[in-house]
Symmetry: C2
Subunit: 310 residues, 2 copies
Protein backbone atom coordinates (compact mmCIF):
# COMPACT_ATOMS: atom_id res chain seq x y z
CA UNK A 1 0.00 0.00 0.00
CA UNK A 2 1.24 3.49 -0.86
CA UNK A 3 1.10 6.01 1.98
CA UNK A 4 1.42 9.79 1.93
CA UNK A 5 3.85 11.09 4.54
CA UNK A 6 4.02 14.51 6.19
CA UNK A 7 6.89 15.30 8.53
CA UNK A 8 6.15 18.72 10.00
CA UNK A 9 9.13 20.60 11.39
CA UNK A 10 9.65 24.19 12.44
CA UNK A 11 10.74 25.54 9.04
CA UNK A 12 9.22 23.16 6.50
CA UNK A 13 6.99 20.17 5.98
CA UNK A 14 8.58 17.22 4.20
CA UNK A 15 5.94 15.43 2.16
CA UNK A 16 6.37 12.15 0.32
CA UNK A 17 4.67 9.18 -1.26
CA UNK A 18 6.10 6.03 0.31
CA UNK A 19 5.64 2.36 -0.51
CA UNK A 20 7.22 -0.31 1.67
CA UNK A 21 10.84 0.87 2.00
CA UNK A 22 10.94 3.18 -1.03
CA UNK A 23 10.21 6.89 -1.28
CA UNK A 24 8.46 7.10 -4.65
CA UNK A 25 8.24 10.91 -4.75
CA UNK A 26 8.89 13.78 -2.40
CA UNK A 27 8.15 17.45 -1.95
CA UNK A 28 9.17 20.24 0.44
CA UNK A 29 6.66 22.81 1.69
CA UNK A 30 8.30 25.89 3.24
CA UNK A 31 6.41 27.12 6.30
CA UNK A 32 9.05 29.15 8.07
CA UNK A 33 6.85 32.25 8.07
CA UNK A 34 3.79 30.49 9.43
CA UNK A 35 3.39 30.48 13.21
CA UNK A 36 0.20 28.41 13.18
CA UNK A 37 -0.74 25.02 11.77
CA UNK A 38 -4.06 26.15 10.26
CA UNK A 39 -2.50 28.34 7.53
CA UNK A 40 0.06 25.59 6.78
CA UNK A 41 -2.59 23.03 5.88
CA UNK A 42 -3.59 24.37 2.42
CA UNK A 43 -0.03 24.28 1.00
CA UNK A 44 0.50 20.85 2.59
CA UNK A 45 -2.76 19.69 1.01
CA UNK A 46 -1.64 20.99 -2.41
CA UNK A 47 1.63 19.11 -2.05
CA UNK A 48 -0.13 15.87 -1.10
CA UNK A 49 -2.50 16.23 -4.06
CA UNK A 50 0.48 16.60 -6.41
CA UNK A 51 2.17 13.54 -4.89
CA UNK A 52 -1.04 11.52 -5.14
CA UNK A 53 -2.07 12.59 -8.65
CA UNK A 54 -2.95 9.00 -9.60
CA UNK A 55 -5.00 8.52 -6.44
CA UNK A 56 -3.07 5.41 -5.42
CA UNK A 57 -2.36 6.41 -1.81
CA UNK A 58 -4.30 4.60 0.88
CA UNK A 59 -3.73 6.98 3.76
CA UNK A 60 -1.72 9.79 5.31
CA UNK A 61 0.85 9.41 8.08
CA UNK A 62 1.49 12.72 9.80
CA UNK A 63 4.51 13.38 12.03
CA UNK A 64 4.13 16.35 14.37
CA UNK A 65 6.89 18.10 16.35
CA UNK A 66 5.11 18.06 19.72
CA UNK A 67 3.29 15.78 22.14
CA UNK A 68 0.65 13.67 20.43
CA UNK A 69 -2.06 11.31 21.63
CA UNK A 70 -1.62 8.78 18.88
CA UNK A 71 -4.69 6.60 19.57
CA UNK A 72 -6.97 9.61 19.07
CA UNK A 73 -4.69 11.28 16.47
CA UNK A 74 -4.76 14.57 18.41
CA UNK A 75 -1.94 16.97 19.30
CA UNK A 76 -1.83 17.41 23.09
CA UNK A 77 0.98 19.93 23.60
CA UNK A 78 3.24 22.14 21.50
CA UNK A 79 6.42 24.01 22.29
CA UNK A 80 6.50 27.53 20.82
CA UNK A 81 5.10 26.87 17.33
CA UNK A 82 1.76 25.64 15.95
CA UNK A 83 -0.03 26.60 19.17
CA UNK A 84 -3.36 26.05 17.40
CA UNK A 85 -2.60 22.38 16.69
CA UNK A 86 -4.42 20.90 19.72
CA UNK A 87 -7.66 22.47 18.40
CA UNK A 88 -7.29 21.16 14.85
CA UNK A 89 -9.00 17.93 13.79
CA UNK A 90 -6.42 16.58 11.36
CA UNK A 91 -8.33 13.35 10.80
CA UNK A 92 -11.40 15.35 9.74
CA UNK A 93 -9.24 17.62 7.56
CA UNK A 94 -7.71 14.64 5.72
CA UNK A 95 -11.07 12.98 5.22
CA UNK A 96 -12.87 16.07 3.96
CA UNK A 97 -10.07 17.63 1.91
CA UNK A 98 -8.23 14.58 0.61
CA UNK A 99 -10.67 11.70 1.10
CA UNK A 100 -8.09 9.70 3.02
CA UNK A 101 -7.68 8.30 6.53
CA UNK A 102 -4.93 9.97 8.60
CA UNK A 103 -2.84 8.75 11.49
CA UNK A 104 -0.91 11.18 13.65
CA UNK A 105 2.23 10.47 15.61
CA UNK A 106 5.01 12.42 17.30
CA UNK A 107 7.80 13.04 14.77
CA UNK A 108 10.53 11.43 16.87
CA UNK A 109 8.44 8.31 17.44
CA UNK A 110 7.76 8.17 13.71
CA UNK A 111 11.50 8.42 12.98
CA UNK A 112 12.18 5.47 15.29
CA UNK A 113 9.45 3.49 13.51
CA UNK A 114 11.14 4.37 10.21
CA UNK A 115 14.58 3.23 11.39
CA UNK A 116 13.04 -0.04 12.59
CA UNK A 117 11.24 -0.48 9.26
CA UNK A 118 13.95 0.47 6.79
CA UNK A 119 17.08 1.60 8.62
CA UNK A 120 19.45 0.77 11.45
CA UNK A 121 16.76 -0.88 13.60
CA UNK A 122 15.49 -3.40 11.06
CA UNK A 123 14.08 -6.52 12.78
CA UNK A 124 14.70 -4.97 16.20
CA UNK A 125 11.93 -4.90 18.80
CA UNK A 126 13.48 -3.17 21.81
CA UNK A 127 15.18 0.06 20.82
CA UNK A 128 15.72 3.55 22.22
CA UNK A 129 16.64 6.24 19.70
CA UNK A 130 18.28 9.52 20.69
CA UNK A 131 18.49 12.54 18.43
CA UNK A 132 21.36 14.87 19.29
CA UNK A 133 20.76 18.26 17.70
CA UNK A 134 19.53 21.70 18.73
CA UNK A 135 17.54 19.78 21.33
CA UNK A 136 17.80 16.15 22.44
CA UNK A 137 15.09 13.65 21.51
CA UNK A 138 14.75 10.23 23.08
CA UNK A 139 12.10 7.70 22.07
CA UNK A 140 11.44 4.14 23.17
CA UNK A 141 10.09 1.04 21.47
CA UNK A 142 9.43 -2.07 23.58
CA UNK A 143 8.48 -5.47 22.22
CA UNK A 144 8.00 -4.02 18.75
CA UNK A 145 5.57 -1.35 19.91
CA UNK A 146 6.13 2.35 20.42
CA UNK A 147 5.65 3.24 24.06
CA UNK A 148 2.79 5.72 24.45
CA UNK A 149 1.58 5.72 28.04
CA UNK A 150 -1.59 6.93 29.67
CA UNK A 151 -1.32 10.51 28.37
CA UNK A 152 0.78 9.88 25.25
CA UNK A 153 4.00 11.02 26.97
CA UNK A 154 5.75 7.77 27.82
CA UNK A 155 9.13 7.05 26.35
CA UNK A 156 9.20 10.23 24.29
CA UNK A 157 10.91 12.62 26.70
CA UNK A 158 14.34 10.97 26.72
CA UNK A 159 16.06 14.35 26.42
CA UNK A 160 14.21 15.58 29.48
CA UNK A 161 15.45 13.08 32.00
CA UNK A 162 17.07 15.01 34.85
CA UNK A 163 20.72 13.92 34.99
CA UNK A 164 22.32 16.85 36.81
CA UNK A 165 20.97 17.66 40.24
CA UNK A 166 20.58 21.41 40.61
CA UNK A 167 21.49 21.92 36.95
CA UNK A 168 20.38 24.44 34.35
CA UNK A 169 16.71 25.30 33.82
CA UNK A 170 15.36 23.57 30.70
CA UNK A 171 12.81 24.81 28.16
CA UNK A 172 10.53 21.98 29.36
CA UNK A 173 10.37 23.56 32.81
CA UNK A 174 12.67 21.01 34.43
CA UNK A 175 16.22 21.41 35.73
CA UNK A 176 19.37 19.56 34.75
CA UNK A 177 17.76 17.74 31.80
CA UNK A 178 20.09 16.11 29.29
CA UNK A 179 18.88 18.74 26.82
CA UNK A 180 19.69 21.70 29.06
CA UNK A 181 23.17 20.30 29.82
CA UNK A 182 24.46 19.10 26.45
CA UNK A 183 22.38 20.10 23.42
CA UNK A 184 22.95 22.56 20.60
CA UNK A 185 21.05 25.33 22.35
CA UNK A 186 22.64 24.63 25.74
CA UNK A 187 26.26 24.39 24.57
CA UNK A 188 26.89 28.18 24.45
CA UNK A 189 25.45 28.45 27.98
CA UNK A 190 27.63 25.59 29.22
CA UNK A 191 30.69 27.26 27.69
CA UNK A 192 29.82 30.69 29.11
CA UNK A 193 29.83 29.22 32.63
CA UNK A 194 32.89 27.00 32.16
CA UNK A 195 35.93 27.93 34.27
CA UNK A 196 38.67 29.37 32.04
CA UNK A 197 36.53 29.07 28.91
CA UNK A 198 38.17 32.19 27.44
CA UNK A 199 41.47 30.25 27.33
CA UNK A 200 39.88 27.93 24.74
CA UNK A 201 40.21 28.56 21.01
CA UNK A 202 36.47 27.86 20.90
CA UNK A 203 35.88 31.22 22.61
CA UNK A 204 36.95 32.89 19.32
CA UNK A 205 34.57 30.82 17.18
CA UNK A 206 30.90 30.12 16.75
CA UNK A 207 30.06 27.77 19.60
CA UNK A 208 28.68 24.52 18.20
CA UNK A 209 29.54 20.85 18.52
CA UNK A 210 31.47 20.71 15.26
CA UNK A 211 33.83 23.44 16.44
CA UNK A 212 34.00 21.98 19.95
CA UNK A 213 35.15 18.60 18.62
CA UNK A 214 37.57 20.28 16.18
CA UNK A 215 39.18 22.20 19.06
CA UNK A 216 39.30 19.02 21.12
CA UNK A 217 41.03 17.17 18.28
CA UNK A 218 43.77 19.82 18.41
CA UNK A 219 44.30 19.13 22.11
CA UNK A 220 42.52 22.26 23.40
CA UNK A 221 42.35 21.42 27.11
CA UNK A 222 39.17 23.34 27.97
CA UNK A 223 37.40 22.05 24.85
CA UNK A 224 38.31 18.50 25.89
CA UNK A 225 36.85 19.11 29.35
CA UNK A 226 33.58 20.40 27.90
CA UNK A 227 33.54 17.49 25.44
CA UNK A 228 33.94 15.07 28.37
CA UNK A 229 31.06 16.82 30.17
CA UNK A 230 28.81 16.28 27.13
CA UNK A 231 29.84 12.64 26.82
CA UNK A 232 28.99 12.15 30.50
CA UNK A 233 25.57 13.77 30.06
CA UNK A 234 24.80 11.64 27.00
CA UNK A 235 26.17 8.57 28.78
CA UNK A 236 24.06 9.13 31.90
CA UNK A 237 21.02 9.67 29.67
CA UNK A 238 21.77 6.38 27.93
CA UNK A 239 22.02 4.58 31.28
CA UNK A 240 18.73 6.12 32.42
CA UNK A 241 17.03 4.86 29.25
CA UNK A 242 18.57 1.39 29.57
CA UNK A 243 17.43 1.12 33.20
CA UNK A 244 13.94 2.34 32.29
CA UNK A 245 13.21 0.53 29.01
CA UNK A 246 15.61 -2.46 28.92
CA UNK A 247 16.51 -2.17 25.19
CA UNK A 248 18.78 -4.31 23.03
CA UNK A 249 19.90 -1.36 20.94
CA UNK A 250 20.50 2.37 21.34
CA UNK A 251 20.41 4.36 18.10
CA UNK A 252 21.81 7.86 17.71
CA UNK A 253 20.82 10.38 15.05
CA UNK A 254 20.71 14.14 14.62
CA UNK A 255 23.10 16.77 13.33
CA UNK A 256 25.66 16.35 16.13
CA UNK A 257 26.25 12.81 14.87
CA UNK A 258 28.46 14.20 12.10
CA UNK A 259 31.06 13.47 14.78
CA UNK A 260 29.75 9.94 15.37
CA UNK A 261 33.25 8.44 15.28
CA UNK A 262 34.18 10.08 18.57
CA UNK A 263 30.70 10.24 20.16
CA UNK A 264 29.63 6.61 19.82
CA UNK A 265 32.77 5.06 21.36
CA UNK A 266 32.52 7.52 24.29
CA UNK A 267 28.89 6.57 24.98
CA UNK A 268 29.72 2.90 24.52
CA UNK A 269 32.47 3.18 27.13
CA UNK A 270 30.20 5.01 29.59
CA UNK A 271 27.44 2.44 29.20
CA UNK A 272 29.84 -0.50 29.53
CA UNK A 273 31.11 1.01 32.76
CA UNK A 274 27.91 2.18 34.41
CA UNK A 275 24.80 0.38 33.08
CA UNK A 276 23.47 -2.63 34.98
CA UNK A 277 22.78 -5.25 32.34
CA UNK A 278 23.63 -8.70 33.70
CA UNK A 279 21.98 -10.26 30.62
CA UNK A 280 24.67 -8.91 28.27
CA UNK A 281 25.64 -5.78 26.37
CA UNK A 282 23.38 -3.12 24.88
CA UNK A 283 24.42 -2.45 21.29
CA UNK A 284 25.01 1.17 20.32
CA UNK A 285 24.83 2.41 16.74
CA UNK A 286 24.14 5.27 14.37
CA UNK A 287 20.74 5.87 12.82
CA UNK A 288 20.85 5.48 9.03
CA UNK A 289 17.95 7.34 7.49
CA UNK A 290 18.67 10.91 8.58
CA UNK A 291 15.82 13.31 7.88
CA UNK A 292 13.95 10.64 5.92
CA UNK A 293 13.39 8.38 8.93
CA UNK A 294 9.95 9.79 9.79
CA UNK A 295 8.86 9.48 6.15
CA UNK A 296 9.61 5.75 6.19
CA UNK A 297 7.85 5.50 9.56
CA UNK A 298 4.42 6.08 8.02
CA UNK A 299 4.47 2.59 6.49
CA UNK A 300 4.53 0.67 9.80
CA UNK A 301 2.34 3.39 11.34
CA UNK A 302 -0.35 2.47 8.86
CA UNK A 303 0.25 -1.17 8.20
CA UNK A 304 1.05 -2.67 11.57
CA UNK A 305 -1.82 -2.80 14.00
CA UNK A 306 0.58 -3.52 16.83
CA UNK A 307 2.03 -0.03 16.85
CA UNK A 308 -1.40 1.40 17.65
CA UNK A 309 -1.45 -0.31 21.00
CA UNK A 310 -0.11 1.64 23.97
Amino acid sequence: MKILAVDLGGTHASCALVEDAVILARDMVPIRDLALLGPALPPIQASLERLNRDGSAGGIGFGFCGLVDAPSSRVTSTNGKFEDAPDIDLVGWARSQLGLPLRLENDARLALLGECHAGAGKSETDVVMFTLGTGIGGVAMMDGRLLHGRHGQAGVLGGHVPVKLGGRRCTCGGVGCAESEASGWALPLVCAEWVNFKESALAQQEINFENLFACGAKGDRVALEIQRHCFNVWGATAVAAIHAFDPELLLYGGGVMKSAEIILPAIEEYVARYAWTPWGKVRIGAAQLGNDAALFGVVPLFCEESVRVR
Copy 2:
Protein backbone atom coordinates in the same frame (compact mmCIF):
# COMPACT_ATOMS: atom_id res chain seq x y z
CA MET B 1 -9.01 -19.11 44.30
CA LYS B 2 -6.65 -19.36 47.29
CA ILE B 3 -2.98 -18.74 46.54
CA LEU B 4 0.11 -19.46 48.60
CA ALA B 5 2.46 -16.48 48.80
CA VAL B 6 6.20 -16.38 49.46
CA ASP B 7 7.94 -13.04 49.84
CA LEU B 8 11.65 -13.79 50.11
CA GLY B 9 13.78 -11.11 51.74
CA GLY B 10 17.31 -11.06 53.09
CA THR B 11 16.48 -12.16 56.63
CA HIS B 12 13.22 -14.07 56.34
CA ALA B 13 10.59 -15.44 54.01
CA SER B 14 7.05 -14.24 54.65
CA CYS B 15 4.63 -16.98 53.70
CA ALA B 16 0.86 -16.70 53.57
CA LEU B 17 -2.36 -18.15 52.24
CA VAL B 18 -4.24 -15.39 50.42
CA GLU B 19 -7.70 -15.24 48.92
CA ASP B 20 -8.84 -12.18 47.00
CA ALA B 21 -7.93 -9.30 49.35
CA VAL B 22 -7.68 -11.30 52.58
CA ILE B 23 -4.68 -12.96 54.18
CA LEU B 24 -6.22 -16.13 55.60
CA ALA B 25 -3.08 -17.31 57.40
CA ARG B 26 0.54 -16.35 57.59
CA ASP B 27 3.91 -17.66 58.68
CA MET B 28 7.45 -16.36 58.98
CA VAL B 29 10.47 -18.49 58.03
CA PRO B 30 13.77 -17.14 59.39
CA ILE B 31 16.61 -17.53 56.89
CA ARG B 32 19.09 -14.95 58.14
CA ASP B 33 21.81 -17.57 58.45
CA LEU B 34 21.32 -19.03 55.00
CA ALA B 35 23.39 -17.49 52.22
CA LEU B 36 21.89 -19.66 49.47
CA LEU B 37 18.36 -20.26 48.25
CA GLY B 38 18.70 -24.06 48.00
CA PRO B 39 18.91 -24.66 51.78
CA ALA B 40 16.03 -22.19 52.34
CA LEU B 41 13.59 -24.20 50.25
CA PRO B 42 12.89 -27.07 52.69
CA PRO B 43 11.78 -24.76 55.56
CA ILE B 44 9.75 -22.69 53.09
CA GLN B 45 8.15 -25.89 51.82
CA ALA B 46 7.27 -26.96 55.37
CA SER B 47 5.68 -23.58 55.98
CA LEU B 48 3.63 -23.75 52.80
CA GLU B 49 2.46 -27.29 53.68
CA ARG B 50 1.27 -26.04 57.08
CA LEU B 51 -0.56 -23.11 55.48
CA ASN B 52 -2.15 -25.40 52.89
CA ARG B 53 -3.11 -28.23 55.21
CA ASP B 54 -6.57 -28.55 53.63
CA GLY B 55 -5.10 -28.57 50.12
CA SER B 56 -7.25 -25.69 48.95
CA ALA B 57 -4.49 -23.58 47.40
CA GLY B 58 -4.38 -23.42 43.61
CA GLY B 59 -0.86 -22.12 43.15
CA ILE B 60 2.19 -20.41 44.59
CA GLY B 61 3.21 -16.82 43.93
CA PHE B 62 6.88 -16.26 44.75
CA GLY B 63 8.44 -12.81 45.20
CA PHE B 64 12.22 -12.72 44.88
CA CYS B 65 14.58 -9.91 45.93
CA GLY B 66 16.53 -9.72 42.64
CA LEU B 67 16.07 -9.46 38.90
CA VAL B 68 13.56 -11.97 37.56
CA ASP B 69 12.44 -13.04 34.11
CA ALA B 70 8.78 -13.39 34.97
CA PRO B 71 7.57 -15.06 31.74
CA SER B 72 9.95 -17.96 32.31
CA SER B 73 9.77 -17.76 36.14
CA ARG B 74 13.59 -17.71 36.40
CA VAL B 75 15.87 -15.52 38.52
CA THR B 76 18.30 -13.67 36.24
CA SER B 77 20.48 -11.71 38.67
CA THR B 78 21.01 -11.44 42.41
CA ASN B 79 22.79 -8.88 44.55
CA GLY B 80 24.91 -10.41 47.32
CA LYS B 81 22.55 -13.12 48.59
CA PHE B 82 21.00 -16.28 47.09
CA GLU B 83 23.68 -16.44 44.39
CA ASP B 84 22.49 -19.94 43.49
CA ALA B 85 18.99 -18.72 42.58
CA PRO B 86 19.55 -18.38 38.81
CA ASP B 87 20.34 -22.11 38.69
CA ILE B 88 17.29 -23.23 40.65
CA ASP B 89 14.14 -24.37 38.87
CA LEU B 90 11.50 -23.07 41.26
CA VAL B 91 8.64 -24.12 39.01
CA GLY B 92 9.94 -27.68 39.03
CA TRP B 93 10.45 -27.55 42.80
CA ALA B 94 6.87 -26.41 43.42
CA ARG B 95 5.44 -29.05 41.10
CA SER B 96 7.43 -31.96 42.47
CA GLN B 97 7.43 -31.02 46.17
CA LEU B 98 4.05 -29.35 46.55
CA GLY B 99 2.10 -30.42 43.47
CA LEU B 100 1.30 -26.80 42.61
CA PRO B 101 2.04 -24.39 39.77
CA LEU B 102 4.37 -21.51 40.69
CA ARG B 103 4.80 -18.05 39.28
CA LEU B 104 7.88 -15.99 40.08
CA GLU B 105 8.14 -12.23 40.13
CA ASN B 106 10.51 -9.57 41.46
CA ASP B 107 9.43 -8.66 45.00
CA ALA B 108 9.04 -4.94 44.30
CA ARG B 109 6.89 -5.60 41.23
CA LEU B 110 4.79 -7.97 43.31
CA ALA B 111 4.34 -5.27 45.98
CA LEU B 112 3.09 -2.83 43.34
CA LEU B 113 0.67 -5.49 42.07
CA GLY B 114 -0.53 -5.91 45.66
CA GLU B 115 -1.08 -2.17 46.18
CA CYS B 116 -3.03 -2.05 42.93
CA HIS B 117 -5.10 -5.06 43.98
CA ALA B 118 -5.86 -4.27 47.61
CA GLY B 119 -4.14 -1.04 48.64
CA ALA B 120 -3.44 2.53 47.60
CA GLY B 121 -3.47 1.77 43.89
CA LYS B 122 -6.86 0.10 43.66
CA SER B 123 -8.42 0.55 40.19
CA GLU B 124 -5.29 2.35 38.98
CA THR B 125 -3.62 1.29 35.73
CA ASP B 126 -0.62 3.63 35.40
CA VAL B 127 1.40 3.75 38.59
CA VAL B 128 5.03 4.02 39.64
CA MET B 129 5.83 2.89 43.18
CA PHE B 130 8.98 3.91 45.02
CA THR B 131 10.25 2.23 48.15
CA LEU B 132 12.47 4.46 50.26
CA GLY B 133 14.48 2.35 52.68
CA THR B 134 17.99 0.98 52.99
CA GLY B 135 17.94 1.09 49.21
CA ILE B 136 15.51 2.73 46.81
CA GLY B 137 13.12 0.64 44.75
CA GLY B 138 11.14 1.98 41.82
CA VAL B 139 8.68 -0.11 39.81
CA ALA B 140 6.35 0.77 36.94
CA MET B 141 2.94 -0.42 35.84
CA MET B 142 1.56 0.84 32.52
CA ASP B 143 -1.96 0.23 31.24
CA GLY B 144 -2.62 -2.24 34.04
CA ARG B 145 0.42 -4.34 33.23
CA LEU B 146 3.74 -4.56 35.01
CA LEU B 147 6.50 -3.40 32.73
CA HIS B 148 8.99 -6.22 32.11
CA GLY B 149 11.04 -5.46 29.03
CA ARG B 150 13.18 -7.62 26.79
CA HIS B 151 15.43 -8.91 29.58
CA GLY B 152 13.05 -8.53 32.53
CA GLN B 153 14.71 -5.31 33.69
CA ALA B 154 12.34 -2.61 32.47
CA GLY B 155 10.70 -0.32 34.96
CA VAL B 156 12.20 -2.08 37.96
CA LEU B 157 15.39 -0.06 38.44
CA GLY B 158 13.78 3.23 39.48
CA GLY B 159 16.31 3.67 42.29
CA HIS B 160 19.14 3.33 39.80
CA VAL B 161 18.34 6.24 37.54
CA PRO B 162 21.39 8.51 37.45
CA VAL B 163 20.29 11.89 38.80
CA LYS B 164 23.60 13.39 39.87
CA LEU B 165 26.25 13.77 37.21
CA GLY B 166 29.63 12.70 38.60
CA GLY B 167 27.97 11.53 41.83
CA ARG B 168 28.73 8.69 44.21
CA ARG B 169 29.43 5.16 43.01
CA CYS B 170 26.40 2.92 43.53
CA THR B 171 26.22 -0.77 44.46
CA CYS B 172 24.69 -1.39 41.03
CA GLY B 173 27.91 -0.22 39.37
CA GLY B 174 26.49 3.14 38.26
CA VAL B 175 27.28 6.64 39.52
CA GLY B 176 24.96 9.25 41.00
CA CYS B 177 21.96 6.91 41.23
CA ALA B 178 19.06 8.03 43.40
CA GLU B 179 19.98 5.16 45.70
CA SER B 180 23.61 6.20 46.08
CA GLU B 181 22.62 9.81 46.78
CA ALA B 182 19.68 9.54 49.17
CA SER B 183 19.00 6.07 50.59
CA GLY B 184 19.48 4.56 54.03
CA TRP B 185 22.89 3.15 53.16
CA ALA B 186 24.04 6.31 51.38
CA LEU B 187 22.95 8.81 54.03
CA PRO B 188 25.98 8.35 56.31
CA LEU B 189 28.26 8.81 53.26
CA VAL B 190 26.37 11.94 52.21
CA CYS B 191 26.71 13.33 55.73
CA ALA B 192 30.41 12.47 55.97
CA GLU B 193 31.09 14.56 52.87
CA TRP B 194 28.76 17.44 53.75
CA VAL B 195 30.46 20.77 54.44
CA ASN B 196 30.25 21.63 58.15
CA PHE B 197 28.45 18.38 58.98
CA LYS B 198 30.12 18.27 62.37
CA GLU B 199 28.20 21.44 63.30
CA SER B 200 24.97 19.42 63.06
CA ALA B 201 23.45 17.70 66.09
CA LEU B 202 23.08 14.69 63.78
CA ALA B 203 26.84 14.21 63.95
CA GLN B 204 26.37 13.08 67.59
CA GLN B 205 23.65 10.55 66.74
CA GLU B 206 23.10 7.43 64.69
CA ILE B 207 22.76 8.71 61.14
CA ASN B 208 19.39 7.68 59.75
CA PHE B 209 16.44 9.47 58.19
CA GLU B 210 14.39 9.51 61.39
CA ASN B 211 17.14 11.39 63.20
CA LEU B 212 17.83 13.62 60.19
CA PHE B 213 14.21 14.75 60.07
CA ALA B 214 14.10 15.17 63.86
CA CYS B 215 17.15 17.45 63.72
CA GLY B 216 15.60 19.34 60.82
CA ALA B 217 12.40 19.85 62.79
CA LYS B 218 14.47 21.55 65.50
CA GLY B 219 15.87 23.99 62.94
CA ASP B 220 19.32 22.35 62.63
CA ARG B 221 20.65 24.24 59.59
CA VAL B 222 22.96 21.54 58.22
CA ALA B 223 20.32 18.85 58.74
CA LEU B 224 17.86 20.99 56.80
CA GLU B 225 20.36 21.32 53.94
CA ILE B 226 20.88 17.56 53.78
CA GLN B 227 17.12 17.03 54.01
CA ARG B 228 16.67 19.41 51.06
CA HIS B 229 19.33 17.44 49.12
CA CYS B 230 17.38 14.21 49.70
CA PHE B 231 14.09 15.82 48.67
CA ASN B 232 15.76 17.05 45.48
CA VAL B 233 17.11 13.56 44.71
CA TRP B 234 13.73 11.94 45.32
CA GLY B 235 12.04 14.72 43.36
CA ALA B 236 14.37 14.35 40.36
CA THR B 237 13.83 10.59 40.48
CA ALA B 238 10.07 11.18 40.46
CA VAL B 239 10.39 13.48 37.43
CA ALA B 240 12.53 10.89 35.62
CA ALA B 241 9.87 8.24 36.23
CA ILE B 242 7.05 10.55 35.16
CA HIS B 243 8.88 11.45 31.94
CA ALA B 244 9.64 7.79 31.24
CA PHE B 245 6.40 6.02 32.18
CA ASP B 246 3.69 8.71 32.10
CA PRO B 247 1.83 7.57 35.25
CA GLU B 248 -1.29 8.95 36.90
CA LEU B 249 -0.07 8.10 40.38
CA LEU B 250 3.22 7.87 42.27
CA LEU B 251 3.11 5.71 45.40
CA TYR B 252 5.72 5.81 48.15
CA GLY B 253 6.43 3.06 50.64
CA GLY B 254 9.35 1.82 52.73
CA GLY B 255 10.66 2.53 56.20
CA VAL B 256 11.66 6.14 55.48
CA MET B 257 7.96 6.91 54.92
CA LYS B 258 7.46 7.04 58.68
CA SER B 259 8.13 10.72 57.93
CA ALA B 260 5.59 10.79 55.09
CA GLU B 261 4.03 14.04 56.31
CA ILE B 262 7.13 16.02 55.38
CA ILE B 263 8.39 13.86 52.49
CA LEU B 264 5.26 13.69 50.35
CA PRO B 265 4.58 17.46 50.26
CA ALA B 266 8.24 18.08 49.35
CA ILE B 267 8.09 15.63 46.45
CA GLU B 268 4.73 17.01 45.39
CA GLU B 269 6.16 20.52 45.26
CA TYR B 270 9.22 19.38 43.27
CA VAL B 271 7.06 17.51 40.76
CA ALA B 272 4.60 20.41 40.40
CA ARG B 273 7.53 22.70 39.63
CA TYR B 274 9.67 20.54 37.35
CA ALA B 275 7.67 17.73 35.68
CA TRP B 276 6.31 18.32 32.18
CA THR B 277 2.72 17.09 32.31
CA PRO B 278 0.52 19.32 30.16
CA TRP B 279 -2.34 16.82 30.58
CA GLY B 280 -2.70 17.60 34.30
CA LYS B 281 -1.21 16.66 37.64
CA VAL B 282 0.37 13.39 38.75
CA ARG B 283 -1.12 12.33 42.09
CA ILE B 284 1.31 11.42 44.84
CA GLY B 285 0.40 9.22 47.77
CA ALA B 286 1.54 6.75 50.41
CA ALA B 287 1.45 3.00 49.90
CA GLN B 288 -0.95 1.31 52.34
CA LEU B 289 -0.03 -2.32 52.70
CA GLY B 290 3.50 -2.08 54.10
CA ASN B 291 5.30 -5.40 54.19
CA ASP B 292 2.14 -7.26 53.19
CA ALA B 293 1.95 -5.69 49.73
CA ALA B 294 3.84 -8.48 47.96
CA LEU B 295 1.66 -11.11 49.66
CA PHE B 296 -1.47 -9.51 48.22
CA GLY B 297 0.30 -9.26 44.86
CA VAL B 298 0.17 -13.02 44.31
CA VAL B 299 -3.57 -12.86 43.65
CA PRO B 300 -3.37 -10.69 40.50
CA LEU B 301 -0.10 -12.44 39.59
CA PHE B 302 -2.06 -15.66 39.33
CA CYS B 303 -5.48 -14.57 38.32
CA GLU B 304 -4.94 -11.86 35.75
CA GLU B 305 -3.56 -13.03 32.47
CA SER B 306 -2.74 -9.45 31.51
CA VAL B 307 0.08 -9.11 34.01
CA ARG B 308 1.91 -11.95 32.28
CA VAL B 309 2.39 -9.88 29.17
CA ARG B 310 5.56 -7.85 28.92
